[in-house]
Point group: D2
């Protein structure tokens, strides 16, 4: 039985507690939070769990095997470092760390201590992302032309990070998981309205061979939009994550050069072929992810969403910041990612 301590139990933490408790072979034995009301509520729902205000108590405990760090990103490095140095595996919220140097340091410690790091890129475990990956792997879409994501909502300005660090980690991790080629450069443009943090940003990611990705992230939208278009040579796909029933729609052709008459038909028709909405597995993604963490510890295997993947995402976020500061200048990310690492496992199957 892997004994887990959870640090930080505000918005997302209770989900972590619930899902680690549901995982086979794991149990949450301690929860730490600075807010006594939060602890009280956790205690009512989880009678046997040890509650504490001081997280060092949890990090030093000899009866804990792994720590889940569900706190603001500025605290990740110190908490994760302490945990690893005390022999604990680490599950940490995205983004992994506030800088890539911190991420590299944590990876090094974990490797030295033979401990696991998992960064909570939950989306990789959703039925939707897993299905898209499978469709791409089976060449159903053909050569990928573009990945275009709109991820906007009324946002949260109390974060210690801007909208890119808040929302784009989802897009970067999903993009990396779906598209085999490594990106070579990116440019980003951001704007702030309420305080100094950017609350709207646009990111363009460049791949070799005309492939591109574009993310629109926005904390100032009245509606929640989570729509990703993926255009392929053979078919095109729309992933609408706020649609409970038809998350993924696949359109049975892309664009081809048309005869003059064809032009006319296309213009008056919204689409030119059938659409197919495959059933999407609805198991809670966080449940699968927590189980994967537990299994990786038990089997001594590398998590899909390991420290290297977390590092890559942080490196791309840093590149975004650099581009934003330079009026959208294109920043090479070829070298940034060229650290001596095993890339995260693309052939992973849950």
């Amino acid at each position: 039985m892997i004994k887990i301590g959870v640090i930080g139990c505000g918005y997302w933490g209770p989900n972590i507690v619930r899902n680690f408790n549901a995982a086979d072979g794991a149990q949450v034995v301690a929860v730490c939070d600075k807010n006594r009301d939060v602890l009280k509520r956790i205690g009512k729902d989880n009678p046997g769990v040890h509650l504490c205000i001081d997280c060092s108590e949890l990090v030093n405990s000899s009866s804990i095997d792994a720590v889940a760090i569900v706190t603001p990103v500025s605290t990740h490095y110190q908490l994760a470092k302490s945990a690893l140095e005390n022999g604990k595996h680490v599950f940490v919220e995205k983004p992994f760390t506030a800088t890539s140097l911190q991420a590299l340091d944590l990876i090094e410690i974990a490797e030295r201590e033979k401990l696991k790091i998992m960064v909570d890129h939950t989306f990789l475990f959703t039925g939707a992302v897993r299905l898209i990956r499978q469709l791409i792997a089976e060449k159903k879409l053909g050569e990928i032309y573009y990945y275009d994501s709109v991820r906007v909502n009324l946002g949260l300005f109390q974060h210690d990070v801007n909208v890119v660090w808040d929302l784009a980690p989802h897009d970067f991790s999903i993009m990396r998981y779906l598209i085999k080629e490594k990106p070579v450069a990116l440019s980003a443009w951001g704007c702030s309205h309420i305080n100094k943090m950017e609350d709207i940003a646009y990111v363009t990611v460049h791949f070799p061979n005309r492939k591109i990705a574009h993310f629109s992230v926005n904390w100032m939208s009245p509606v929640k939009v989570r729509t990703t278009l993926i255009g392929g040579e053979k078919k095109m796909l729309v992933w609408n994550d706020v649609n409970a029933d038809e998350k993924i729609k696949i359109y049975d052709r892309g664009v081809e050069a048309q005869s003059a008459q064809g032009i006319y038909d296309l213009l008056v028709s919204y689409r030119s072929g059938d659409m197919w909405a495959p059933k999407v597995e609805q198991t809670e993604a966080l449940r699968l992810e927590c189980q994967h963490f537990v299994d990786c510890i038990k089997n001594d295997s590398l998590p899909l969403n390991n420290g290297y993947m977390g590092l890559e995402v942080v490196q791309m976020l840093e590149a975004c910041d650099a581009s934003i500061k330079n009026e959208g200048r294109m920043i090479s990310i070829e070298n940034l990612l060229a650290v001596d690492q095993p890339s995260f496992p693309m052939d992973f199957e849950l």
Copy 2:
């Protein structure tokens, strides 16, 4: 009675014929097209209309007062120039011309000859755009923070222009009509997949005072999306042009700094206030626009969508091309627009 000749009657032309015929004080007396089948069809629906293959016949006719040019953009300049030099008012498809120099030349000829130029920026005459303009004028939204448009569909690669020149004229003209401030710079990024023309592009437009606009234009999308978000200090607006019933939705607040508890509430709630979908006037925009052209001729008044507006749009399109060629470098458009001109009339009311 203003007698109108229409040059080009393929996809859009029949709508022009129908709406000029429906306009008070106007009649289509001649139609020119290179395709005999097209002419035949037009002739069946419009028994008395003169049909011709050679457009010079129409341009030189002494019985025609105005010419509507509904042909590819590369032909606009020569056709419009001939028409103006033969004393005819000109209604011309967007974009106005292939270069801003051509546009300047046409404006000069028209002013010298005391003729009208109208560029077919149809969207300005839609109930939706007119309503949004009124809402902004009445300060219902407060200070505007951003204008974000997604305009994507399965597109048409036979055009002589790229996706920016095809789709962004809508966004540039609407943006200029809605936002009083002049834009100061823009950057654009584009990519081509099928032929050499860019088929996907992203444009960012910069205003003074943190105001921004962003356009996503794409010919490779399996679904038709026409969604514009306009974020204001007081309220936010979503204009979904493919929604017949609820084109415009206004959300009754923007974003404010939140208490910790507020964060939690926002996160679990998709929006934090009421929504209001005002009735949108459904009169066909092209009908209003054609009537406006006829009225401007009769009353010798400046059209809303006059040559200067067409020029501005072409200048911004040229800036996009320059930015795309320079990896998204920011291009100043302050000077470009600083020709000695009356800006198009912002106080226009239909």
Copy 3:
């Protein structure tokens, strides 16, 4: 060339004029309407057409081959009778007549005079209905269990008929076209709020073998709904006619008895299989229907939507009225339909 006269040119009439003009081998030569403004507008769009106020002028004209009657239902019988007796083919709006006796009389005259009657059940010519019919014919849905239609909107109380006679002819004609078995009984319930005409009604149609149909028709709905569910043994189909892009969705299974675990899965999942939205042909239905009328005259063939089909629909509408007057009592329609007639051609293919 079949020369066509159109009687009644208010709301729907201009579409009839336009589509008969577009049909190969036909031309609208005369239009009659009591409203001089209507005639004026028609005249502007159709320069050569003869305009008249008195429809007897049109019915008696020797230069007209066929008459399209686009007037209130109470006038259909007299107009159609005069037209047939003057040797003219008749195209008539739905519902065919105000009583089944009238319909029988017109059928008899037409057969005697060897003239065609076509009742304007436009929906049968839509891409959606034709596709559904094909899917059923190909046994894609399996045995049909039910047909459930909701057809509601803000309605029109000036009609001389109630909501059943206004909206249910669509459902009756589509149902008869799609389902091979003859219905045996129906019950209906209606309610009036604004004047004496029923403005809300519910109709249940009974077939042998557990097959049923249900129509909800309502003039008092704030939203326009045009949704039909068709449940089959193998698959289920949803036809949403106000969805421009995905009119027809086919779900890849129906309901089967489930194990206990299966129950749980069904409850937490909105659907249990893939969905498929085939491309729907978008040619204007009225255009195909007008062409079909012209072709039937030229080829002396029986129209799909002939007088017998019109009669059947009127008989079912009469049965609805009878049931409504008797608190929803079930009314047999087996005998009603048993007149000596060729049933309308189920094997028709456009």
Copy 4:
């Protein structure tokens, strides 16, 4: 602290456990289920709870104050009777009982023993229903004309009840809560396809003064629909419960007699006024309901959803069965509801 035992922990039970645990002043102390796996899972999530297979253990326990019965309807009467006779308050799933006589008997015992009965009509506690009730109370909609509900999905044939007893209790309880007038009669029609239980049914409820309600309930629909139209003299309302973001839409007018020109406008426009989507409170309804039960016990007050309301619903369900057996004959429900009872409190406010 009210100590609660829960009987039946399959699909819905865990939600009951969670929400009673979250309620102030209550705690779940025992859970009973016949399935050992279910008990095991409950035990893992709720360490201190007593688990048992035999529900008599729970019913007889002196340390339990109230019992929540979350079992098939056929078992409700015996379980509730035992619980009441052992001095326990009863919270019971809808429908209350399998017959109205059983319901009357339980009400009598509870009154004699001064115990509370609450029937789990959860929908009454949703933000949507509470908001609609408030809008009606404030006369925002004007006189109500009709209530039309479509409640369909892929259903569950293992129940011991038909689709009316499964789904219509929601509609009956909501209808009774929203509409002050008592219904006088109802008719129902049902059909079975998979086994002997009706899987599709239509219910029409008659009120004095032209007011009507209609429910369409269906276990054979490929899509989940939960749409209720409420038409009023002044405004009309659409409640779409599967729309997370805009559950309730209010349209700012009903239907009025129109001039001829008005007809035309209505026909070409989907709606004739603004729409307003008020923010809907998102607190979990079951949480409010569980708290209400606990508060009623502590304050000795009558629950909103008390036994009489449960009785009324059962009586209307019995009337449906009677009508279905008689080919849709109208069944009076005036006398059925005329038992000597306090009607459930219409002036209730949470």
